[in-house]
């Protein structure tokens, strides 16, 4: 969707989400990489952010006043590369090199040689600390930009996140927004079976954050939530996005299998047909 106050260069987020999903399917299938389920899960969140929430300039990727976006769940990097390409940070053609010999488009998101990527990640539990540092720096500089960090739910097992969560509220970093792709499935089993996070919202609240819950595939709700930050003045905001892992491809939805599996042959054709029909 396009908002009346959308920044210059904003694009329709639903169309962008569709492109991200299709690109990611091609990229992961061509390279034989994992994590298509994780990309499909967050595609709408990333599309809404890059579609019009983030104040960024593809012509000047290091513009000092830009909003910072960190993909802390780096294994879904294909989705960010696709969004950046569609926003004009790099040629769309370049996505074909993803996961290929000699490419710098690694399976886990990397900043080296890729304009628009703020932070390379891949080991979980790093993004929120770095994002907190960026937010603190902006505060101390009196700068107005915001820092968005997208985390997975399984990633919240990492203790380093909770160090950052303590820190951000203590320092009143209301320019920091954590977005959790809460699809309730991690690597080997569901979140409740692995390490239960619930009552998840209460945990964030207890740490002093403003918590907003949202359907992570509803573009109107996502746009309204992500533009209305901080949700409460003086404290950091977390948006718990309830999502479906593998969203958009019926046989990938809500399965652990598609965290790792690569769509090939007939599976690829079916997945592509479903995504193109949306």
């Amino acid at each position: 969707m396009l908002n009346a106050a959308a920044p210059e260069g904003a694009i329709d987020s639903r169309a962008l989400a569709k492109k991200i999903r299709i690109h990611a399917l091609h990229m992961t299938s061509r390279g034989g990489s994992s994590h298509i389920g994780a990309v499909l899960s967050m595609a709408d969140i990333v599309a809404v952010l890059y579609g019009g929430v983030l104040q960024v300039d593809p012509k000047d990727p290091t513009w000092p006043a830009r909003d910072r976006f960190i993909l802390s769940k780096g294994h879904a990097g294909a989705g960010v590369y696709a969004a950046l390409a569609e926003r004009g940070f790099m040629p769309v053609e370049r996505l074909k090199t993803h996961y290929q010999d000699g490419s710098d488009l690694s399976g886990h998101v990397s900043h080296k040689g890729i304009p628009g990527v703020e932070l390379s990640t891949g080991s979980l539990g790093h993004g929120l600390s770095v994002g907190s540092g960026m937010a603190l720096g902006a505060k101390r500089d009196g700068a107005g930009h915001r820092v968005f960090v997208l985390l997975s739910d399984g990633e919240c097992d990492e203790g380093s996140n909770w160090e950052a969560i303590l820190f951000a509220s203590h320092h009143k970093l209301d320019n920091l927004v954590a977005v959790v792709d809460y699809n309730k499935i991690q690597s080997l089993a569901s979140v409740p079976e692995t390490l239960a996070l619930e009552p998840f919202a209460d945990k964030w609240r207890a740490f002093g954050w403003a918590v907003v819950e949202c359907n992570g595939h509803d573009h109107d709700a996502l746009h309204a939530t992500l533009t209305d930050v901080p949700a409460r003045a003086g404290v950091p905001t977390v948006v718990l996005c309830h999502t479906t892992k593998g969203k958009g491809v019926s046989f990938m939805e809500n399965t652990v299998l598609w965290h790792y599996r690569t769509a090939k042959g007939e599976e690829f054709d079916r997945a592509l047909a479903e995504l193109e029909a949306q």
């Binding site: 390379s120 770095v130 907190s132 950052a164 303590l166």
Partner: protein, 315 residues
């Protein structure tokens, strides 16, 4: 060393408002002046070194020069992946300062013995690794790393060789300093144990053995030429470090020389060989206990002068 570091950092912070210091809840009574004078450039991150290092990266990527400060292994090993993936991979201006190198906190036990840090930090691409041996080197290195791009590691020690600078001497990161000339044997030291090397050289001189003493305050970048010259001009090399013998200064010298085909006449590494140091005691006591005091250096140097290459063997 610690006080010299803080004093110099204060001056640097006054001159450069983009300089920032984060402590991991340590430095009682030491950082107080810094915090009082430069509160906008100071942060206590709490007992959370992983977050501290991530924060430092985020601040550095936003245009600051960020020092992180803690003791022993906390600002390095505890948050090693943040140092590697966040700070180093992004070439962020993060300067990691660990006080308590080696056995500085000897009586506190194994958790506080920093005896593998040099090898581990040296293995990570792009990190400048600095272990000053004297107070002057601390002051100069502090200033130098503040303007050296990327991640730097500054290992500080409770002990030091005092002040070893000569009038008008100019400090350069990556340049080995020759503190004493000699051709019989070369003592190659890094960190505060430089004082042991100088004391050993003094004793050896009394016996008529002239030891060259090199202060390797920077392990990376490494001044190979000065070491090659010592290989060619002296009867053998003894490396001295308050660190395990694996992968630190001794390993660095050995691999650099062998690869270049410049082989010393004799070679021995003085360092920790006993595995984890479960015995506690003062820094001085532990050096003696683990065979890295002046007497151990003298014994090894004497044997090297008398018996040549075979004196380098550990048995």
């Amino acid at each position: 060393m610690r006080d010299a570091f803080v004093a110099r950092l204060m001056r640097l912070a006054e001159a450069n408002p983009r300089l920032f210091l984060i402590t991991g809840d340590l430095g009682f009574g030491v950082l107080t002046r810094f915090e009082a004078a430069r509160s906008a450039q100071f942060l206590n991150a709490g007992v959370a070194e992983s977050n501290m290092t991530g924060l430092a990266t985020g601040l550095a990527l936003s245009g600051r020069v960020v020092f992180t400060y803690s003791i022993a292994n906390f600002p390095t090993l505890r948050c090693l992946e943040q140092l590697r993936n966040d700070a180093a991979y992004h070439e962020a201006n993060v300067k990691v300062v660990a006080i308590g190198g080696g056995f500085s906190y000897g009586a506190l036990g194994m958790s506080h013995h920093a005896t593998e840090d040099l090898a581990i930090l040296r293995a990570i691409p792009g990190i400048t690794v600095v272990a000053p041996g004297c107070i002057w080197e601390v002051e100069e290195a502090t200033e130098a790393i503040a303007t050296t791009p990327g991640v730097c590691y500054l290992r500080l020690d409770k002990s030091s060789a005092g002040r070893t600078d000569r009038p008008g001497e100019v400090f350069e990161l990556g340049n080995i300093r020759t503190l004493r000339e000699g051709t019989d044997v070369t003592l190659v030291a890094t960190g505060g144990i430089l004082g042991v090397a100088l004391a050993a050289a003094e004793s050896l001189a009394a016996e008529g053995i002239q030891a060259r003493v090199l202060s390797v305050h920077t392990l990376r970048p490494f001044d190979a030429e000065t070491v090659f010259r010592a290989c060619r001009e002296t009867g053998g090399l003894i490396t001295i470090e308050e660190h395990v013998v694996d992968g630190g200064l001794g390993g660095l010298v050995a691999e650099t020389c062998l690869e270049a085909g410049v082989v010393p006449q004799a070679f021995h590494r003085i360092g920790l060989r006993a595995g984890f140091s479960s015995i506690v005691g003062s820094q001085e006591y532990l050096r003696t206990r683990y065979g890295m005091d002046a007497e151990a250096v003298v014994t090894r140097a004497r044997a090297m002068v008398r018996y040549g290459a075979s004196a380098g063997a550990t048995q």
